[in-house]
């Protein structure tokens, strides 16, 4: 293989600091450069309304997703998502005040195919009164083995700014208030490295595997929630203090999915996810989905999801005393619990008469019921009746509702 002068110079400059092993790998990578063709997602638009109701929290809002090809190799997508939150949750009742707020999220992305490779990149920005988050991501996919296998490598990076809101005594307005350390805002940084594999196993079965390594750094706690510790003879028998979280967290998550096409045109999906992090959270998720078309127009689906997790090392519902250990948390997301989610959905496909640029349309509805049983998070609001540490364990029931319309064009 002959290199041009410019290429040789670039090669020399770029390889100057590399070991012979790495140079050999890079050369082989060039030889193995892809020459096959990825597939872009379909052009479609979705308008969704979502609603969550449970634990004295109501969250609802719209989501609009549009995806459109530009030429043969490029596909662009944009999404607007909104949460309108009204919360009087058990955490809010214990440590703060009921509130209403709105979170808006905008995202844009692009997928570009070259041969059998697909390059994806995008940016997401989320804004709510006391939390602003920006995330960028990049991924490369490669179809291999006669398109039976797709390998994807991805990277994402997030930058969050966290604020703490409180009521200004003089004006009654909600304003940013300083954290316990006196700073007006806190920073959190997130990175994710992912590897995904999609593999056609037989003419009826496909396997998916995702692995992601995540690192979080900075302010990772919830500034409003507090720990509680035993204070016999004082108030309800416990006192409260700010949570103290570690500033770093490294997580490993791996997901395996298997989808099978049944002989009478239906699909069965089984999936399992393993999760573990340096905070001591160990979680398992198992899910079964069944999709059943009926006639030309209807598709019905049902799902059952089971999730269980072990509590974080520094979590306790009730610490023995103040300053019991260096890190202390009572966020119920870090408690030990298991949950079941039972879901069902229906989709009706139809043609829009007289609109020739729409190839296909569907109207969809989906309902999920979430039941969470906590193993070491108690309803502290009942401490006056049962005594601190003897309250009933908390249980969450929530209904999740989605209705959306999709068009393909």
């Amino acid at each position: 293989m002959q290199l041009t002068r410019e290429a040789r110079c670039a090669h020399t400059r770029g390889a100057a600091g590399l070991s012979p092993f790495t140079r050999t790998l890079l050369t082989l990578c060039l030889i193995a450069a892809p020459a096959l063709a990825g597939v872009l997602p379909e052009d479609r638009a979705d308008v969704l309304w979502h609603s969550y109701n449970g634990g004295d929290i109501t969250i609802q809002g719209p989501s609009v997703l549009v995806r459109k090809k530009v030429g043969d190799n490029l596909s662009l997508s944009a999404n607007y998502y909104e949460d309108m939150i009204s919360s009087a949750s058990i955490d809010v009742k214990l440590s703060a005040s009921p509130y209403h707020e709105k979170r808006e999220q905008w995202s844009g992305g692009a997928d570009y195919t070259h041969g059998k490779s697909t390059y994806s990149a995008g940016f997401i920005t989320s804004k709510e009164p006391d939390y602003k988050a920006n995330t960028s991501y990049f991924a490369v996919s490669q179809d291999m083995f006669g398109d039976l296998t797709t390998l994807t490598l991805g990277y994402r990076r997030g930058w969050d700014r966290v604020f703490k809101d409180g009521k200004d005594i003089a004006t009654g307005q909600i304003v940013h208030v300083p954290f316990d350390n006196g700073l007006s805002q806190a920073i959190a940084d997130h990175r994710g490295y992912s590897l995904s594999l999609s593999q056609i196993l037989t003419r009826n079965a496909i396997l998916g595997f995702n692995y992601e390594l995540l690192t979080d750094q900075g302010y990772l706690a919830n500034p409003y929630r507090e720990i509680r510790f035993l204070s016999p003879g004082v108030g309800l028998g416990f006192s409260k203090a700010p949570q103290v979280y570690p500033n770093t967290r490294t997580s490993n998550a791996a997901l395996v999915q298997l989808k099978y096409y049944l002989p009478y045109r239906a699909a069965l999906t089984g999936q399992y996810r393993f999760f573990h992090d340096t905070w001591g959270v160990l979680a398992h998720t198992v899910e079964l989905d069944y999709t059943h078309p009926a006639g030309k127009h209807w598709i019905f689906e049902s799902s059952l999801r089971y999730y269980t997790q072990k509590h974080a090392d520094f979590y306790s519902d009730l610490f023995p005393r103040a300053n019991y250990q260096n890190f202390m948390a009572r966020d119920r997301e870090l408690a030990a619990f298991h949950s079941y989610t039972l879901g069902a959905g229906a989709s009706y496909q139809f043609m829009v008469p007289g609109v020739h640029w729409i190839n296909k349309s569907s109207a969809n509805v989906r309902v999920d019921h979430l039941l969470v049983d906590y193993s070491d998070f108690r309803n502290a609001l009942l401490a006056g009746t049962y005594g601190a540490g003897n309250e009933p364990l908390y249980r969450l029931n929530a209904n999740i509702f989605q209705v959306f319309v999709s068009i393909w064009f």
Binding site: L48, G146, D147, S194, S198, R273, S339, R366, L370
Partner: protein, 80 residues
Amino acid sequence: MRVAPVKLMRAVTAALLLAALAGCAAPTPWVKPYEREHFADPIMSFNRDPVSSTYLQHVFETREGAHGATGSVGGGCGCN
């Protein structure tokens, strides 16, 4: 047993390279293109309705300690 980071990186790079090379010297596909009509059926997609699955994933991630490996990229949610 501890594995030196350099050795680990080399092993990962070599594995990725082998995967890439395998794309050039691909074995004969054991499922022929004309046998893959079931995978063109939307019900065989792992993510048939992204707008719906992304939302549901968000609901779980804000209430659970586990996150990641689901294919969705969160924009962050303070959920304070």
